[in-house]
């Protein structure tokens, strides 16, 4: 997978041919003993910018010890319904491609829950990775599944914690409703206008 394929991981800049930036899935880990979970998506020209954007959009307030980004179009996904509707699809998958690589497996377990890390499989292509994931983690009743190559993921490092995540923990959160500058200003302006009248 080259620069175009993974959107340019750390240190690489991909040349944009579209005016739209690709979408990256953001996976965050709140504590060391909890799995990575889907936090949302960001747009970015490349993976490094996606990681920075992910930090600002998703982890400024809540706890975070690790952040991953992966280009959304590199995630191979199937829902429980899709798999039930076409059971023959899984059987039609043959090993294809050259060498196996490691894929992360994520699953969504409840309607309201987020996709969470389940494990890893070695496979030659995404479809086969999913098939192996269903075999390996068959006891998990996933409503939907994601598989994507480990090497497509840009991850924060333990060194990033100090600058990326730690400062946010010390900050107070003030709700938008606590900011009154504009309404106070309007009131003062009205008062001034009234007093200016003869």
């Amino acid at each position: 997978m080259g620069t175009r394929g993974n959107g340019g991981l750390r240190g690489e800049i991909s040349i944009m041919t579209d005016t739209q930036w690709p979408r990256y899935m953001v996976l965050h880990q709140e504590q060391d003993d909890k799995p990575h979970q889907h936090a949302g998506t960001v747009h970015a020209p490349d993976a490094e910018m996606a990681l920075l954007n992910a930090r600002d959009v998703f982890v400024r307030r809540p706890d975070c010890v690790s952040l991953w980004v992966v280009r959304a179009d590199l995630i191979f996904t199937r829902t429980q319904e899709e798999l039930a509707l076409h059971p023959e699809w899984l059987d039609s998958i043959q090993p294809r491609g050259d060498t196996a690589e490691t894929y992360y497996v994520f699953a969504k377990l409840t309607q309201k829950g987020q996709f969470s890390y389940v494990g890893e499989v070695e496979a030659e292509n995404p479809a086969r990775a999913l098939k192996m994931a269903l075999q390996k983690y068959g006891d998990i009743a996933g409503l939907a599944w994601w598989v994507f190559p480990v090497k497509a993921v840009l991850k924060s490092t333990p060194d990033d914690i100090e600058a990326m995540f730690a400062p946010a923990a010390a900050k107070d959160f003030r709700d938008q409703a606590n900011f009154h500058a504009l309404s106070v200003l309007r009131k003062l302006m009205r008062k001034q206008e009234t007093s200016d009248e003869p």
Partner: protein, 253 residues
Amino acid sequence: MNPELKQALVDYLLAMADDELILGHRNSEWCGHAPILEEDIAFANIALDEIGHAIVWYELAADVLGEERETYANRMVYFRDAPDYRNTQMVELPKGDWAFTMLRQYLFDQFEMVRLEKLAQSSYAPLSEAAAKIRTEEMYHLRHTQAWVRRLGLGTEESHRRMQTALNEIWPHAIALFQPSDSEILLINAEYVPATSALKTEWMERIMSYLQEARLTLPQTSVVPSRTHHTEHLAALLSDLQQIARLDPMAKW
């Protein structure tokens, strides 16, 4: 602390605070106008961080003077006129385009980083403690602005041209960051602060290779403005920033 040293320290802290406040306010003008939503959030965060750092420095100055922290900070921010501000012209210039904003922030972040590393070793404990704390946030700012400078410098013909134009305009103002104040020597002797002019070598080393990598060329340095002279842009910025407080000094918001 003798009165001269005290005054020198307050002057130094105020200059730092004013830089952060004015830059933070300028950056906040992008709120709702940044190129994309994600960046809007990211850059508003950076703006808030800078204003937060300004508060830290104003409050340290208040402590040195034995004044009440919030009262002092409010007085400094809302009730000083432009000529009394000690920020560099670099931070008061209008926000310009995205290239200008990113390059200014990058050059300033790198300056701050070099200075904070030294201030973290200050013999004046409140200063070293604050510097160490602020430094972690600046590490992130730097990563963010560096990323943009590189991408804009190496991006399209237009983005490169805008970056070079921005660099030409900002450069003399960036050099002004390294002008020492008159009383700074007292603080250097007390090992409170590093010599500002000595920070320049380290800063130049860090930014030169990076700007070259982004294919940007340094212009010749022309006249370097001082901290006691301001452009007309500062008064305009302050009239916005101070609007409520000047209409009603007792207003709460």
